[in-house]
């Protein structure tokens, strides 16, 4: 049948097109992930490495059912976990508060200024992340720019504790992730049809009602996309806390890195990583479901 052969040919073409990337992902993403998953259920070896026996207590150490033989439950891991969540959420919130209004302003500029503003926002991508973070050390440290300036002005006697705090980590995160939030938010704000805003006012809605019922729902896809794009890497980020956070502001990323490289407890590191992965995948799953549903009925996409 010609219909059948056309369908199977289309399938062959699809396989050819998607084949290489599927293979790549299978080897370099699914492979390591499975190894990690298996490791996270194995016992740590005495001098690194693993013992091949089923051992659920890696997760127990984090969640409260530690191996009673040689570890006690330590809430520090949950604390780090919660701190990471808190920092990531704060980062999302602040970048959103910065980017959402800015997107409206920039979308109303003339074309020339618009592209200039967009260029400025993507400018940080052209410089190394590490360099940009180290500049914040120069600004925040005890003998750094802010402290020197403030004491020169006579406003403070002793230098402020700016660096190696949770605040410094959030600052660095916001600084890094602003472009990631801005671009999706801007894309949906730019698409907003302002005659709809007029229609809303015409029908009696004041500014706040118009925002809540028309502007926000129509730009929500950008807000959600931006929040996810920022939240996921922020949750697992280890560069910013490593440079600006110090020992007190450890995040999950740093903890995982320590388990693999310093403590040489691979199964525990793998368990931590799997927990982060679970959260990220759950979020992505919800997001994809939302996008798919929106695809049926929301007109904002195109």
């Amino acid at each position: 049948m010609s219909g059948f052969s056309r369908r199977s040919r289309a399938r062959a073409q699809l396989a050819l097109l998607l084949g290489p990337v599927s293979l790549f992902l299978a080897i370099f993403l699914a492979g390591p992930l499975i190894i990690m998953l298996i490791y996270s259920f194995l016992a740590p070896g005495l001098y690194g490495g693993v013992e091949w026996e089923f051992y659920p207590h890696n997760f127990g150490r984090i969640l409260g059912f530690a191996d009673p033989e040689f570890e006690i439950f330590d809430p520090v891991y949950i604390a780090i976990f919660l701190r990471s969540l808190r920092i990531a959420l704060t980062t999302v919130l602040i970048t959103l508060l910065v980017c959402y209004p800015a997107a409206f302003q920039i979308s109303r500029l003339s074309d020339r200024w618009k592209s200039f503003a967009l260029f400025l926002i993507t400018l940080p991508f052209f410089a190394s992340l590490i360099v940009r973070l180290f500049i914040w050390i120069l600004i925040l440290k005890k003998t750094g720019f802010i402290n020197v300036a403030l004491s020169e002005l006579g406003l403070i006697d002793t230098p402020l504790e700016l660096i190696y705090t949770e605040g410094a980590v959030v600052l660095g995160m916001v600084y890094i992730f602003i472009p990631f939030m801005f671009l999706p938010v801007y894309a949906s704000v730019e698409k907003l049809d302002w005659t709809l805003v007029r229609a809303s006012q015409d029908l009696g809605a004041n500014g706040f009602q118009t925002f809540r019922r028309v502007i926000l729902p129509l730009t929500l896809p950008g807000v959600i996309a931006g929040s996810i794009i920022v939240f996921i890497p922020a949750l697992g980020n280890f560069v910013v806390p490593a440079v600006l956070g110090g020992a007190k502001s450890l995040m999950l990323g740093n903890l995982i890195e320590q388990q693999f490289l310093a403590a040489r407890n691979w199964p525990f590191g793998a368990a931590l990583a799997m927990l982060v992965m679970t959260i990220v995948l759950a979020l992505l799953f919800i997001y994809i479901r939302y996008e798919a549903r929106r695809g049926d009925d929301a007109p904002v996409i195109r």
Partner: protein, 365 residues
């Protein structure tokens, strides 16, 4: 006199141009719309129609002048506090809301109780012939249906005045004609004033109680469709509304003589001589049998083209002096048209009493 529904007093608006200077969109407009009146704004692109509507709905702030709606000065009120609703040109339906939510929007904003709301949404949809489509999304509707939703949404809050900015321009001819009739019926049923914008003169003439012809930000003429068509106030109105043959010249003892040498007979009298424009509508002409036999009111033309229009013929010709003339000839004169087509010339007859004389030389005044 009964208080009018809308009154504009010397409404002025000029927009700054990016390269400096300004463009005058409203030039001291005075306008009154009566209760339950269907007024159409007619004019070429850029003449200020949309600006005028936006001034009434509050989206354009006037530089000068006042606006009264139902006797109240609304000039300084924001759009959401004016008793006026709009049907936008591109409908502007909220894409994330269903038809029912779109139509009920104004009621939701006004916190209308749920039972009353659903009753009124149903009634409004019924009125525009869309009952049962509450749960569709706008993009699942045809253009004509979207237009009706926009209409239902705009009338549900019972505004005192409905503004319609070229609401039919996106529809095909057939749908457009049926919507014209429906709009007119709806307006009579609702008993509210409509200000309707179009640049389609046929639409303006068929739908309105009165037509306001705009050009360059000022009203050229405001009158009944019949008066605007038959007695245009100036050459702009004459040429913009309907097809027309305009002859500028000097009126002297029953004749208008153009500088090129064409002569139009008329019953109009002038003391001495005056600069005028004579208007002859295409349907005022008939084709003479034979050579016209020395009739006074005639125009000899060479035929350039004859177009069959269904109801008759459109004869395009030119006088000996080079003035283009268009005549609409009834199908009854088929034989004369045929012989004109062969001889490539014709004599057009008209009634001198029906020639409309416009004072002035045809420049807009």
């Amino acid at each position: 006199m009964a208080e009018s529904m809308v009154r504009l007093q010397r409404a002025c608006k000029a927009f700054p141009l990016p390269e400096g200077g300004t463009v005058t969109a409203l030039d001291a407009i005075d306008l009154e719309v009566a209760r339950n009146e269907f007024l159409t704004l007619l004019g070429p692109s850029g003449c200020g129609k949309t600006t005028l509507l936006h001034a009434i709905s509050g989206f354009v702030e006037l530089d000068d002048g006042r606006i009264f709606v139902d006797g109240e000065d609304v000039s300084d009120r924001p759009p959401h506090r004016r008793p006026v609703n709009t049907v936008f040109q591109n409908y502007a339906l909220f894409p994330h809301m269903t038809v029912g939510q779109n139509v009920g929007y104004a009621l939701d904003i006004a916190r209308t109780p749920r039972t009353e709301r659903s009753g009124r949404v149903g009634a409004a949809l019924e009125m525009v012939g869309l009952a049962g489509l509450e749960n569709r999304l706008p993009r699942q509707l045809s253009g004509g249906q979207q237009q009706r939703v926009a209409l239902a949404r705009a009338i549900i809050a019972r505004p005192k005045l409905l503004l319609l900015d070229e609401p039919l321009s996106a529809l095909d001819r057939k749908l457009r004609q049926s919507m014209q009739i429906e709009l007119k019926t709806l307006q009579a049923e609702l008993g509210i004033s409509f200000i309707f914008v179009t640049h389609d003169q046929e639409e303006a003439l068929t739908m309105s109680n009165r037509v306001a012809v705009l050009d360059g930000g000022s009203i050229q003429q405001i009158d009944t469709p019949r008066a605007v068509y038959n007695n245009p106030a100036n050459a702009f109105v004459a040429s913009f509304v309907g097809a027309s043959n305009l002859f500028q010249g000097m009126l002297q003892s029953g004749r208008v003589m153009t500088a090129q040498g064409d002569v139009i007979s008329t019953d109009a009298a002038a003391a001495g001589s005056a600069r005028v424009t004579a208007l002859l509508r295409p349907e005022q002409f008939t084709i003479a049998n034979g050579g016209g036999n020395g009739a006074a009111a005639k125009l000899d033309i060479g035929i350039r083209q004859i177009v069959f229009t269904g109801a008759g013929y459109e004869v395009h010709g030119r006088t000996m002096n080079g003035h283009d003339v268009v005549a609409a000839i009834a199908a009854a004169q088929q034989a004369q048209v045929a012989s004109a087509e062969i001889s490539r010339k014709a004599t057009l007859l008209y009634d001198p009493a029906a020639v409309h004389i416009i004072a002035g030389g045809g420049d807009r005044s």
